[in-house]
């Protein structure tokens, strides 16, 4: 008698190590962000929101840039690189989640510092537009067509959409904005932040980068599993259909 083995899922030793590191770094971030880092001279304790807000938007930008790079690859290969296309889609999905987190944590921060959750300010409006653009990208990925058609179509959107990131980033300079300018580096590339605050922000960026890698690896594998299941279902349906057709007959 053989013991049935449990099928292996999307986890590997690498994803487990990355996941544990991300959890540990997130715990550190919470400790430093909420307890050990000092309050800001101007903003007081509200600055503590920065330690989750800035890494969230960093992750979203990173995700959309990865999507754009993979999209260029897909276009060059004329859509015949399904693995790369899956990474593009997985990365965009994670980016959308963290862009939503950025918008909501920014609203909470705005409520403390500006007294309102939302203003149709240049930075906030362009960020919301970026968020909506990538929801559109995900909608395009879901349209009908062959896998190559879908990959090429969404790759075009992935390449065009990334051009919005510089617009969002520079919006505080291009238009008059309520939103503060870059927290860490000013125009002269001088670091203009307290040492412990900078360290906490650095911990946040590392933690969220680890989360990004973990999420993209798992999500791309889930997409691969879904594609395999769909392929197998189609093969089974065709085989079943073939047995229904009488020998030598047409249906």
């Amino acid at each position: 008698m053989t013991t049935p083995t449990t099928p292996r899922s999307t986890g590997t030793r690498a994803t487990r190590v990355i996941g544990i590191a991300a959890i540990v770094m997130s715990a550190w971030l919470t400790l430093f962000g909420l307890v050990l880092s000092p309050a800001d001279v101007a903003q007081g304790d509200a600055v503590r929101i920065m330690y989750v807000h800035v890494p969230s938007v960093w992750l979203a930008y990173l995700a959309f840039i990865v999507t754009a790079i993979c999209s260029v690859w897909v276009l060059v290969a004329r859509g015949r690189v399904p693995g790369v296309d899956r990474v593009a889609g997985a990365s965009a999905e994670i980016g959308v989640v963290f862009m939503a987190v950025t918008l909501v944590s920014g609203m909470l921060w705005g409520r403390i510092t500006w007294g309102v959750y939302w203003q149709w300010d240049a930075r906030l409006t362009t960020t919301a537009l970026l968020f909506i653009t990538y929801i559109g990208y995900l909608a395009v990925r879901g349209l009908d067509g062959s896998p190559e058609q879908r990959a090429r179509r969404s790759a075009v959107v992935g390449v065009v959409a990334v051009a919005e990131i510089p617009l969002v980033h520079w919006s505080v300079r291009l238009w008059r904005s309520l939103h503060q300018e870059a927290t860490v580096l000013d125009t002269d590339l001088d670091v203009d932040i307290d040492g412990l605050m900078l360290f906490t922000l650095f911990v946040g960026v590392i933690a969220f980068t680890l989360w990004f890698v973990w999420f993209v690896l798992h999500r791309a594998r889930v997409m691969a599993l879904a594609a395999l299941v769909e392929e197998r279902s189609l093969d089974e349906a065709l085989a079943e259909r073939a047995t229904e057709v009488p020998a030598g007959g047409q249906n």
Binding site: T10, G11, D45, L108, I112, F215, L225, A226
Partner: protein, 44 residues
């Protein structure tokens, strides 16, 4: 700490989102992995 509800709320929102997305993804991965033999999983 001033405005503690907004500060704690932002951390709960961020890590809550991570936990929910991760849990949903792992659940979906487990359900799909039962329908695909291990030898077809390129990452193993």
């Amino acid at each position: 700490m001033e405005s503690i509800e907004f500060i704690i709320g932002s951390y709960l929102l961020t890590f809550g989102a991570i936990a929910v997305v991760a849990a949903r993804m792992l659940r979906r991965a487990r359900s799909l992995s039962h329908r695909v033999p291990d030898e077809e999983k390129y990452w193993l």
